[in-house]
Structure formats: C-alpha cells, structure tokens
C-alpha cells in the first residue's frame, strides 16, 4: 500500500541519521566533553576557597552562582555554535551538489523537506543542549553542592534562543550559499550580543537612546535577550538586584519577548518554506 504522508518523518529521520554519522557531531561532542572536564577541574580547584578564606555562606553562594552561570554561558556559546553550524549547509549544500534533485522529485512536499530537516536538527540540538547544560549543572551540584534557582524556566529560554538561531540557519540555506548563510547567522547573533551591551550600559548610564537601540536590535534578533532572561532567572533575586556581574543585567526584556521569539521562529521558518518552495533545484 502506498502512502505519501511520511515525507516529513523520513527526512527528519534521514537528518538525524546524517548528524550521527557525520564528524561535526563527533567534533561538537569532543569540544563539549573537553569543556565539561575543564569546568569540573576548575570548579574542584576553587570550591574550597571561594570568596576568600573567611567568606560568609552568602558570599560563597554568590561566587558559586557566578561560576555556574559562567559555565552555563560557555555552554550557551557552544550550543549557539552548534545551532548555526550543524544545519548551515544542509539545504544550500545539497542544492549546490545536486543531492536535492533526487530527493525533491520523490512524492514528498518541498515543505516537508525543510520541516523534516528542521525537526531532525532540532532534536540533535536539544540533545546537545541537555548534555552541556546538564553537565555543568551536575558538576556544580556534585562538586559545589549548588544548584541555581529556576532552571526549569532558564533552560527552556536557552532552548528557545537556540531554536531561533537554528531556524535562521535553516531558513537562510533555502536561498543563500553555505558561507553567506553562516555569516548571516553569526552576524545576527553578534549584532544582538553587541546591542545588548549597548543596552545594558545605556540603562546603567540612563541613556535612553542606547536603550532603544538595544530593544530594537533584540526585536530583529532575540537571541541575546533570551539568554539574558535565562541568566537573570537562574540566580537568586538578591544577586540579580546587586547587578554587579555580567550575568546580572540592568535591563531584562519583558516576558512578551518569549512570545515575540516564538512568533519569530514561525515567521522565519515560513519565509524559508516559501523560498524553498519556489526555487529552482
């Protein structure tokens, strides 16, 4: 019996299969593993004299929270890297090489090719994120006996950030060449990163123009705003209010940013689907 609705799951399955066989995932796992080992060693070396020899319990907790957030920040950067690079050539590369032709003449919808690839890569990304963030949190819990608050809110925000970047990388590949696409995704991420600092400093100095720049760029590219929201969630309010670390921003986006980012993913993906549906293969 013929059925022709399975295109999406077939492509998603193929994408997962490919990610597992290609070296990029192995490379990412080695980098992630090395990072976790370093983080664990560093934490173990510092854990007994955190905050100086006669630090109070509060000071120790502040220092542990800072260290854990630093670890999570590094993990976040690795996840961002993965979100851009893992799918950066999945469409553009297959279009350029011609691999796409034999796929696209089969009785599957073009949108299922894009959605299948998106889904397959998203699953890999979730796994990678769970591994890195889970690793940092586990090491902090075991070595420092410390767990940041509200990780159940923070981690989904980080996943949303990674999803935004993954979606840009996939949608860009429907139209752009591999290198241009990678430049665009990293460029947007970098722009949001800088704009966020402009916003933080502007807020600190009471400069509304700088604040507005930050807000506008966050709407164009919500990645950094989502990370800042996640980071501010995963620390006790008292530390957040002190605002004396890179992870305690002066200005955090409103919860509406989550809806904005969700809509952003849907719209960017829809643009990608439309572009891929029309292009010559």
């Amino acid at each position: 019996m013929k059925r022709t609705g399975g295109g999406l799951s077939t492509v998603a399955h193929l994408t997962l299969h490919e990610a597992l066989r290609r070296r990029i995932l192995l490379g990412a796992l080695i980098a992630g593993g090395a990072f976790l080992v370093l983080y664990g060693l560093g934490l173990a070396a510092m854990v007994n004299n955190l905050g100086g020899p006669d630090a109070t319990l509060l000071e120790r907790r502040v220092a542990l929270n800072m260290l854990t957030l630093a670890g999570l920040y590094a993990a976040n950067l690795l996840v961002v890297l993965m979100a851009v690079l893992l799918p950066v050539d999945t469409l553009s590369g297959e279009i350029a090489s011609g691999v796409m032709q034999t796929l696209a003449v089969r009785p599957i919808r073009r949108r299922d090719i894009v959605l299948g690839k998106w889904l397959g890569h998203w699953v890999v990304l979730v796994g990678y994120l769970a591994l890195l963030f889970g690793g940092v949190l586990a090491l902090s819990a075991v070595i420092g006996r410390f767990t940041p608050p509200r990780i159940e809110v923070g981690l989904p925000l980080v996943l949303l950030e990674a999803t935004v970047i993954l979606t840009i990388s996939i949608a860009g590949g429907t139209r752009l060449g591999t290198i241009t696409n990678g430049m665009l995704a990293f460029g947007l991420f970098g722009m949001a990163f800088i704009a966020n600092w402009v916003e933080q400093i502007g807020t600190g100095l009471g400069n509304t123009a700088a604040q507005h720049i930050g807000t506008i760029v966050s709407l164009i590219m919500p990645s950094e705003a989502l990370w800042q929201m996640a980071a501010s969630q995963m620390q006790p309010p008292i530390i957040r209010e002190l605002g004396n670390s890179p992870f305690s921003p002066f200005s955090v986006a409103s919860p509406a940013m989550v809806w904005w980012a969700g809509g952003y993913v849907v719209v960017v993906l829809a643009i990608g689907l439309r572009a891929f549906g029309r292009r010559a293969l």
Binding site: K2, T4, L14, R22, Q101, T102, R106, P107, A280
Partner: protein, 309 residues
C-alpha cells in the same frame, strides 16, 4: 486514457537575462524510448527539470501522465537519474535504495527483494554495504540508475546516464533501457552520445538553443535512403511526382535553385526522381544519395552552431 505520457506546449525558462529554454513543445507516447538530443547548453537539462517539477517554467504548460507538471502523486510514478548524480555519500548503496523506498511511501522491507534485484542488476551487490563516498564515479552512476528504477516507474528520465561509465557500464545501461522498452516503460533519454541514442531510442528530438528543431523516428528511417537534391524551381506537379517516390522531409526554396531532401524506400526510386525533374527540363545541379546516420542528422540539424567553435 491518453496514449501520450508527456505533453509540453511552449515551455519557456528564463534565468534572469538568459533564456535556457525558449519554446519547447513535445509529445511522448507511452512505451517510447525518446531521445532528447542537442549540444551542451541547448537547454536539455533545464527541460527535464521543468518536466519533473524541479524548475518552474517561466511560461508554457505541460502534463505528465495526464497531470500538470509537479503533481505529487504523479511523481511517485517517475524515476530520475540526474546529470550530476550526487547522493547522500554517508549512506551505503543499499541504504540509499532503502531511503528512496521510504521517500516513495513504501517500506524498505516491502521493496526488499526489488532492492536486492536492482543491486544485482547494476552489479553492485558486492559493494552494497560500503558508503557511497567510497564508490567510483561509475558505481555512483549505477546506484543512481537503480534508484531511478526502484519504484517501477512508468516514465524514467535519464540525463546523460552513461557520462561516468566505462564501455561495460554503457552496455549495461543499454541493456537496462532495452529491458524497460520491452516492458513498455517510457524512457526519456537526454544524451549527446549519438551512438547510444541510435542503439536505444525509438524516436528523437533535436534541441537547439532551447527549441526543438527536428523530430525523427529512428525505426522508421532504418534502411531507408535519403536523397538530397539541388535543382531549379520545382513546380507543384513535379513535387507531387517526387512525393510519389518518397517522402519529402525538407525543402528550402532559394532564389535560383531549390534544395529538397527526400527519403525513399530503396535506391530504384532515385532515377525516377531524376527523370521527373530532368524530364520537365528543370536543371538538376546535384543529387546525393546517402544512408543517413544519426550523426549526419545531428550535424545537419544543428548546423555550424552545433560544432565546437
């Protein structure tokens, strides 16, 4: 149901300022092995891609198996081996065919025996568990051929299917096409290897600068003789007399003389044609008799533009 499995009317494809296909009209009957001939850059591949729905035509229309091009259900009844055959090279040969079974909406287990038979047919059983990146060019093209035949398609599009093959591989492709023809499968063959086309096709179309300029039924022309004549202007009754001897395939009137080509069944007709012309006092400047090879047809139809500059 219509006997025509491919029908195209005025297909045109423009990429920016460049016209890849200008005005393509075709009709291919079920069971034909249809050769699509032309020099590099004539628009053959773009034509195939339009028929397969990979490239949207700028204008014009076409149907495949009765449905508009690109129809998803019809695509389940097609097979395609692209000119630049590249596949997911991290898959093994067998896995590639299993993937395409799934893409066809079938389970690899369902098509298991067909996959094994095809791997044997293209002589890749020994290499079936090796990743495609270890395959030679010829092996990749052969696994691509198996991929194209997997769903027992009604129409198979082969774009330069022997470009990467050695002589044995070419014979294999020729055999496969022969089998398809026996089974009544329609084959649309893009090629510039004229010997290959001559050996396999029942009908050919010549395409030049994105237009079909000539069509030829190969079986029909077999064993016939073509006479090229250059004479003075031919009145209608003389033309009619010539037409009784054979089929006038091409006639171009020039200022002083007329050139026509006539295909006749046997050589005995040649003097009859000469008598019909000379008998009326019309000057006969030249009369050339040839059994025409496809190559001669090709050069003739393409003119000087078809030759490398």
């Amino acid at each position: 149901m219509s006997d025509l499995v491919i029908e195209a009317h005025g297909l045109r494809k423009q990429f920016g300022a460049k016209t890849a296909v200008d005005d393509l009209s075709l009709a291919v009957r079920r069971g034909e092995v249809f050769g699509f001939l032309g020099p590099n850059g004539a628009g053959k591949t773009t034509s195939i891609k339009m028929l397969l729905g990979l490239v949207a035509p700028t204008s014009g229309s076409a149907t495949l198996l009765g449905a508009p091009i690109g129809d998803r259900m019809v695509r389940a009844r097609l097979g395609f081996l692209p000119e630049h055959f590249r596949f997911q090279d991290w898959l093994t040969g067998r896995e590639l065919l299993q993937l395409h079974a799934r893409l066809l909406g079938r389970s690899p287990r369902d098509l298991g025996s067909r996959i094994e038979a095809l791997l044997a047919r293209v002589d890749l059983l020994d290499a079936a568990n090796r990743p495609l990146r270890t395959y030679s060019k010829g092996m990749t093209q052969r696994v691509g051929l198996a991929q194209a035949l997997l769903g027992e398609p009604e129409i198979v599009f082969l774009d330069e299917p022997t470009s990467g093959l050695d002589p044995l591989g070419r014979l294999l492709v020729r055999d496969v096409i022969h089998d398809l023809r026996e089974r009544g499968t329609t084959v649309f063959l893009n090629s510039h290897l004229l010997g290959e086309v001559e050996a396999t096709c029942s009908r050919v179309a010549f395409v030049k600068a994105g237009r079909t300029v000539h069509e030829l039924s190969l079986g029909e022309e077999d064993g016939k003789v073509e006479v090229a004549i250059r004479a003075g202007a031919l009145p209608d009754d003389v033309r009619a007399a010539i037409a009784q001897c054979g089929r006038i395939v091409d006639g171009a009137a020039e200022a002083a003389a007329e050139q026509i080509r006539v295909v006749v069944d046997d050589e005995e007709r040649v003097p009859e044609i000469a008598r019909a012309i000379v008998g009326r006092g019309i000057p006969l400047y030249e009369m050339k008799v040839a059994r025409k090879s496809l190559e001669a047809w090709f050069l003739d139809v393409m003119g000087d533009e078809g030759r490398p500059g």
